[in-house]
């Protein structure tokens, strides 16, 4: 018994010593990396992971590690510097911004290769239980903008008075406007504002005039979504939006095309300006709401971290991002062939991004 207690005491002491020791070892954790490290947008994540997995399974190199940090967070990590502790590639659902590019330059990340990988369609969809919706971008603007031109014919703008879709456009069903869409922090929302809302706003003569005269004010008008419950920020989890749509047939959701593609039995995409969001329509550019996706590569790491060149080659190969490539099966809309060739050429030569507007 005594022995056991002494043992207990000693065990406690040794553990404590170990703790102190571990705390001391902490700072010297050697940074070591033999696999590619990728960060960035959650929109590009599903595509980048497919490529990474195939790349890893094919053998030769370890599977890259891909973190979903959001585009901004990705650039912050990416631009922090050159070296093994910094990521090699940053995925982005928008082009790099001048300020981010500057940060990169300042931190010694001078050579960046931009790779445009394809398009992501943005769809408006509702439950299959309800009839398919047919919108014009004008309808979308009227239903979702914070302020709209006075429906009674007045000059100025009024806070959005529309409560049901039928009030917006008599051909639409008499259902309360309830749109679940991405939050202000999301790149998807950004793209939606520019692609749908701006287009819709330009359908009004008065706003068109304003756009020419006071671009800033105009941007504020199409860039402000209503905050009275008609538009609901629904978080970044698109699957949850899909499930909420199924539960509530009156709601309309805004999200990436790949989620529609995977759930065609439950939800349907709304026609926008006469075009259904199908793979072909988006690839042809007929469907108006689509945005380009990118990733950025640190040239200084190419040839240093094993496999980057090969990963790039895999990503830009026809079997991946081509028209019938495996990325298209995951919902990535490929670039037109000529552009694919150009980008692939740039990637091969590692053409560096000169500057950003």
């Amino acid at each position: 018994m005594k022995k056991r207690k002494a043992l207990l005491k000693n065990a406690t002491m040794f553990t404590l010593a170990l703790v102190v020791g571990l705390a001391a070892v902490g700072p010297v954790q050697a940074q070591q990396r033999d696999s590619i490290s990728i960060v960035g947008s959650s929109t590009v994540y599903p595509f980048a992971t497919v490529v990474a997995e195939r790349f890893g399974k094919a053998g030769g190199f370890k599977t890259p590690k891909i973190e979903s940090t959001g585009t901004g967070g990705g650039f912050k990590l990416f631009c922090a510097g050159v070296g093994v502790q910094h990521p090699d590639i940053s995925n982005a659902s928008r082009a790099i911004k001048a300020s981010e590019f500057e940060t990169c330059q300042k931190n010694g990340v001078t050579e960046i290769v931009e790779v445009k990988i394809g398009f992501d369609g943005i769809v408006l969809a509702n439950s299959k239980k309800a009839p398919q919706l047919v919108f014009s971008s004008k309808d979308i603007f009227l239903a979702l903008a914070k302020e709209v031109p006075d429906p009674k014919g007045g000059e100025g703008l009024v806070p959005n008075p529309y409560k049901t879709w039928k009030e917006v456009n008599p051909s639409l069903p008499e259902v309360k406007i309830e749109v679940l869409g991405p939050p202000p922090t999301s790149g998807t929302r950004d793209a939606f504002l520019e692609l749908a809302m701006e287009r819709g706003a330009l359908a009004f003569e008065s706003l068109k005039k304003l756009a020419k005269e006071d671009a800033k004010k105009f941007q504020k008008i199409f860039g402000s979504l209503r905050e009275d419950g008609g538009y609901v920020d629904a978080g970044e989890n698109d699957n949850l939006i899909v499930q909420k749509l199924v539960a509530n047939p009156n709601a309309v959701g805004i999200f990436g095309f790949s989620f529609l593609d995977q759930n065609t039995d439950k939800i349907q995409g709304a026609k926008v300006d006469g075009h259904v969001p199908t793979f072909e329509n988006i690839a042809d550019g007929k469907y108006p709401l689509s945005r380009p996706l990118f990733f950025y590569v640190k040239k200084a790491h190419v040839g240093v971290i094993p496999g980057i060149k090969e990963y790039l080659a895999e990503f830009t190969s026809e079997k991946a991002w081509g028209k019938d490539g495996y990325l298209s099966e995951k919902g990535l809309i490929p670039l037109p062939e000529a552009e694919r060739k150009k980008v692939a050429e740039n990637v091969k030569n590692l053409t560096v991004l000169k500057d950003v507007k």
């Binding site: 002494a6 000693n10 002491m13 040794f14 404590l16 010593a17 102190v20 020791g21 001391a24 070892v25 700072p27 010297v28 050697a30 940074q31 070591q32 990396r33 959650s42 940090t69 901004g72 967070g73 650039f75 912050k76 510097g81 050159v82 070296g83 093994v84 928008r94 911004k97 300020s99 981010e100 931190n107 010694g108 914070k146 309830e178 939050p183 202000p184 922090t185 999301s186 790149g187 950004d190 520019e194 800033k216 504020k220 860039g223 402000s224 905050e227 419950g229 609901v232 920020d233 629904a234 978080g235 970044e236 989890n237 949850l240 499930q243 909420k244 539960a247 509530n248 040839g303 240093v304």
Partner: protein, 462 residues
């Protein structure tokens, strides 16, 4: 010798020191005859030697490693040619980075400039030297101190008191970790929050009634109003927490009472673990449950009664959060009820009180401070809970106390602001830190008050 191996050697050394010390103590005591009376038992002598062997060496080890890098880097830089050395600090930093990477073998050395390559080699050499010196120094120090202390062992030595003193010091050190953690949190949050308050005035943030963090995402684009008045966010947090507590406190407390006072042994041994499973279920799972099962159910139920319920009502999130918190309230209350001495119960029963009367008049008042502590813990969990509200409560910052409407909470905002696609140093991101700061301060105040109450109750009871 790598640091880990060195650490292992040190542990072995200290184990050996323990045996040496103990042996000496036995020898001093006289093999069988107990000729001399030791002040402390031999194990304490052993422990004393072991501790003295390990601790100074560990200290040296830690200090050495934390300064090694800086010193070696400085030495390497001094050897660099002037042209490379006279760069601005940023660039120099990168250069050092390069040198280290090449030295570690991550980057291809052949591609580097000769000066850098040389520096890398120097770095590697110096570091190797430093490591060898470290190993030698640590082992020598450990052995020397152990030998020294062993020689100082006397029968009259108050070895136990020494060991206990060291032990107490270690205990104190462990308990100060909490202070350092708090300090770390405050420093890492305050810094960013201050940046935020430089852009958005503090009072506007704290008392503004409009929360709509939509700043321009690009320079050439204007977002929506971009208001940073956090009151709707705070109110939403309070609303959801209140709903959660209305669910959790009665159910949790009654469960605890039933389990500890009424339930038979078998029932208790089955029901208590089942309830505690609720505590172990990850919040991600609750989030899905809330968003996919409870929220639609609440909405449909509202439709039956002709009420318009938002698909992300505060009610759904609050109720599920309440379910999550039940076991917290239950198991903590249970512990405190159990801790009430049996004598108090027996006294009440002997006066003819029924069980429920005993519970309400005697046990609950006695256990109250503990139960209050449990409930306060639960409240802070409710305020800080993230995943459930992220998935079920939505992001619309409505200024309302109607539980059927959608509200947002502080934690939801922190998450969405931090993991978005926006620029990292924009006010949007910084707002997350400001919210984090407020959350931190609020819980701090809450707990200080709670501790005060608990202490007063306890004094009353004693």
């Amino acid at each position: 010798m790598s640091p880990i191996v060195l650490l292992g050697v040190l542990l072995l050394l200290s184990a050996a020191a323990y045996h040496v010390g103990r042996r000496k103590a036995f020898a001093m005591a006289g093999a069988g005859g107990r000729a001399v009376r030791l002040h402390s038992r031999p194990t304490y002598h052993g422990a004393l030697v072991a501790l003295w062997c390990a601790l100074p060496a560990l200290l040296l080890f830690g200090l050495w490693l934390s300064f090694e890098n800086a010193i070696v880097t400085r030495m390497v830089l001094e050897r660099l040619p002037e042209s490379l050395r006279s760069q601005p600090p940023d660039r120099l930093n990168l250069l050092v980075n390069d040198i280290r990477n090449i030295a570690a073998g991550h980057f291809d050395a052949a591609a580097a400039e000769p000066a850098i390559r040389e520096a890398a080699a120097a770095y590697q050499r110096l570091r190797g030297l430093s490591r060898q010196a470290l190993s030698a120094a640590v082992i020598a120090l450990a052995a020397l101190v152990a030998v020294f202390v062993r020689r100082r062992l006397r029968p009259s030595l108050r070895a136990r008191n020494h060991v206990e003193g060291i032990l107490t010091a270690l205990l104190v050190a462990c308990s100060t970790i909490a202070i350092f953690t708090t300090l770390g949190i405050v420093l890492s949050v305050v810094y960013e929050a201050v940046l935020f308050f430089r852009i958005i005035p503090f009072w506007e943030f704290l008392f503004g009634l409009n929360w709509s963090p939509q700043m321009a995402i690009r320079a050439d684009q204007v977002g929506a109003s971009g208001a940073f008045g956090a009151v709707p966010v705070f109110l939403g947090t309070a609303l959801i927490s209140a709903i959660a507590m209305t669910v959790a406190v009665p159910i949790g407390l009654m469960s605890a009472i039933y389990l500890s006072e009424y339930a038979g042994k078998t029932f208790r041994s089955i029901a208590k673990p089942l309830i505690e499973i609720l505590a172990g279920i990850p919040t991600v799972v609750y989030g899905f449950f809330a968003a996919l099962t409870v929220a639609p159910f609440v909405r449909d139920l509202g439709a039956v009664f002709g009420l318009g319920v938002a698909s992300e009502s505060a009610l759904a999130a609050g109720v599920v959060m309440g379910i999550m918190i039940i076991p917290f309230v239950c198991s903590l209350s249970d512990d405190f009820i159990n801790a009430v001495p049996q004598a108090l119960r027996d006294g009440a029963y002997s006066l003819g009180a029924t069980r429920s009367e005993t519970i309400r008049r005697v046990i609950l008042p006695a256990a109250l401070p503990g139960i209050m502590g449990g409930i306060l813990l639960a409240v802070s969990r409710a305020i800080g809970e993230t995943m459930i509200v992220v998935m079920a409560a939505g992001l619309a910052a409505n200024l309302t106390v109607n539980p059927l409407k959608a509200v947002t909470t502080v934690t939801v905002q922190i998450v969405t602001l931090l993991i978005g696609d926006q620029e990292f140093d924009s006010p949007k991101t910084l707002a997350a830190f400001a919210l984090g700061l407020v959350l931190f301060v609020v819980t701090l105040v809450l707990n200080v008050i709670a501790l005060y109450i608990v202490r007063r109750y306890r004094e009353q009871y004693e």
